[in-house]
């Protein structure tokens, strides 16, 4: 077993990416994720990798697109405003079915917003972000250990499905330190016969392209891509359940919000309120079945989030609006306190705030 070390969430992502075999990083400075770039700038030259500070977020994601086209593991990281700029590349990556790994350490918005933690890019991430019909696999770590393990998982899922995986974290997750255990990663072999590596005069040329001017052909490609998404939705949803077995009230929360909610749930249990939590680990694919099943016995749901009500929509959809779902949220860089979450739990317990 490897030794446990204290690491910042951002550093854990960077080191895990290197362990996962990523040797190409392109980025542009933005708070609160710059430690990832700084870490890569130090490490990559020593292991024969590429660290390049691009001229813009737009350039960085297109450099990612270039390496992805060659079939190698590659990543970029940014924070909310920078991800908006990268949306162009995210859409092209999807249109070409290229595997890539992207990190969004969210901050408050819209616009330049602030630099404190936020989860308000939930829609942007889970609905694709850029133009066109597509999804990314969106992973939401709630600890520094998960920042690392979900990074490794993210690279694997990206290669397995030829899709972009995104870590959706927030400023606290990026900045906080917790013990992490990092060990050797065994990467399976993935078929990369589609990559542009030079024909070596031994095969037909490969073309990486998202332009299809014939409508019925483009339609077929979209249908095929969504067949793949169906498989992902079937196989890959992940969540953590906390005290849900007998729960009348279910809290839905991810990332830092789930950490806060846990404190409130422990406190509420002391007051004999039957409350538990489903913490989605994959935001897309959303763990719909787990919520749907929970709604058979639970009477009330609470969505705790650092946004104006984004996660709540997926909860309502997953339980098909069969139970009331209340929103407990703070935004702009504010984080709900355990007391605020406890209040929401108490109100739900009294049957209020439907």
């Amino acid at each position: 077993m490897a030794e446990k070390v204290l690491m910042k969430g951002n550093e854990a992502i960077a080191e895990a990416a290197i362990l996962a075999g990523c040797r190409h990083y392109f980025g542009y400075p933005i708070t609160p994720q710059t430690e990832i770039a700084a870490y890569m700038a130090k490490r990559m030259p020593k292991i024969g990798g590429t660290f390049l500070q691009a001229e813009s977020e737009v350039a960085a994601i297109n450099m990612v697109y270039g390496v992805a086209a060659t079939g190698k593991r590659v990543m970029t990281s940014s924070s909310s405003p920078g991800i908006s700029l990268k949306s162009e590349g995210l859409s092209y990556l999807a249109g070409c079915d290229l595997p890539a790994f992207v990190v969004n350490v969210e901050r408050g918005g819209p616009g330049l917003g602030g630099i404190q933690p936020s989860q308000s890019d939930y829609f942007q991430a889970t609905r694709g972000g850029g133009h066109g019909d597509y999804h990314m696999i969106v992973l939401a770590p709630a600890s520094v250990q998960e920042m690392a393990s979900l990074t490794i998982k993210g690279f694997d899922l990206a290669d397995k499905y030829r899709i972009t995986s995104m870590i959706l974290a927030d400023g606290t997750m990026g900045q906080m330190m917790e013990p992490v255990e990092l060990s050797e990663v065994k990467t399976p072999d993935y078929d990369k016969s589609w990559a542009v590596t030079g024909t070596k005069m031994q095969r037909e040329h490969n073309i990486i392209n998202s332009l299809t001017l014939v409508p019925d052909e483009l339609e077929k490609q979209n249908f095929a891509r969504y067949e793949k998404y169906k498989i992902i939705e079937e196989n890959e949803p992940m969540c953590e359940k906390f005290m849900t077995e007998d729960a009348d009230i279910i809290v839905a929360a991810f990332g830092i919000a789930a950490r806060v909610a846990k404190n409130a749930i422990v406190e509420a249990r002391k007051q004999d309120i039957k409350v538990g939590m489903i913490r989605p680990i994959t935001l897309w694919p959303f763990p719909k079945k787990d919520f749907f099943e929970a709604a058979k016995t639970a009477k009330h749901f609470i969505s705790v989030e650092l946004s104006m009500g984004q996660l709540i929509e997926d909860v309502e959809l997953a339980i098909r609006c069969t139970r009331p779902v209340t929103l407990c949220n703070r935004v702009g860089g504010m984080i709900p306190s355990p007391a605020e979450v406890l209040d929401a739990i108490k109100k739900a317990n009294e049957g209020g705030d439907k």
Binding site: V5, L6, T31, T172, Q175, M176, E178, P179, I256, R259
Partner: protein
Amino acid sequence: MSTTQILIAGFGGQGVLFAGKFLANKGLIEDRQVSWLPSYGPEMRGGTANCNVILSDEPIGSPIIDKPDCLVAMNLPSLRKYEYDVVPGGVIILDSTLIDETVDRDDVTVYYVPATKMARDGGFGSLANMILMGKLIAVYEDMGIKNAEQSLKKVIPPRKAELFDVNLKAVEAGYNFE
């Protein structure tokens, strides 16, 4: 089984984050659950800085501290900002060289440590932060001086290895301060 939530606050440049790392690493060495969360912002130097450290024998929920068990205040604004957040029965440790006021509450235990003066007189330069950490680990029995050395070895980067001895001395001075 215990949990201690520690809030260290002061100006940027006073070594608030470093002090927190020392505590967190010490906890890790002692196989405890730990979390360390800094304030982060545009002020690299001179602005306010604080850091949340939780040491626990159980899994840690939120790494954010609303009601610290212990406040380490390194300047007056930090004391005034957080002193009423400390839980009743809690602890406040402050640098009495930089804070010449007293704590108004009588339901907490306050330790007035002239850390900046001690650092100056003892030849520890600007290590008031580590003197205060020394006091803190003396106050909490489950922490103590053990492993302070190993923790410092982890948090002081090799290129600054010459600072190890003086840091340890500062911690010991704080630990032995009555």
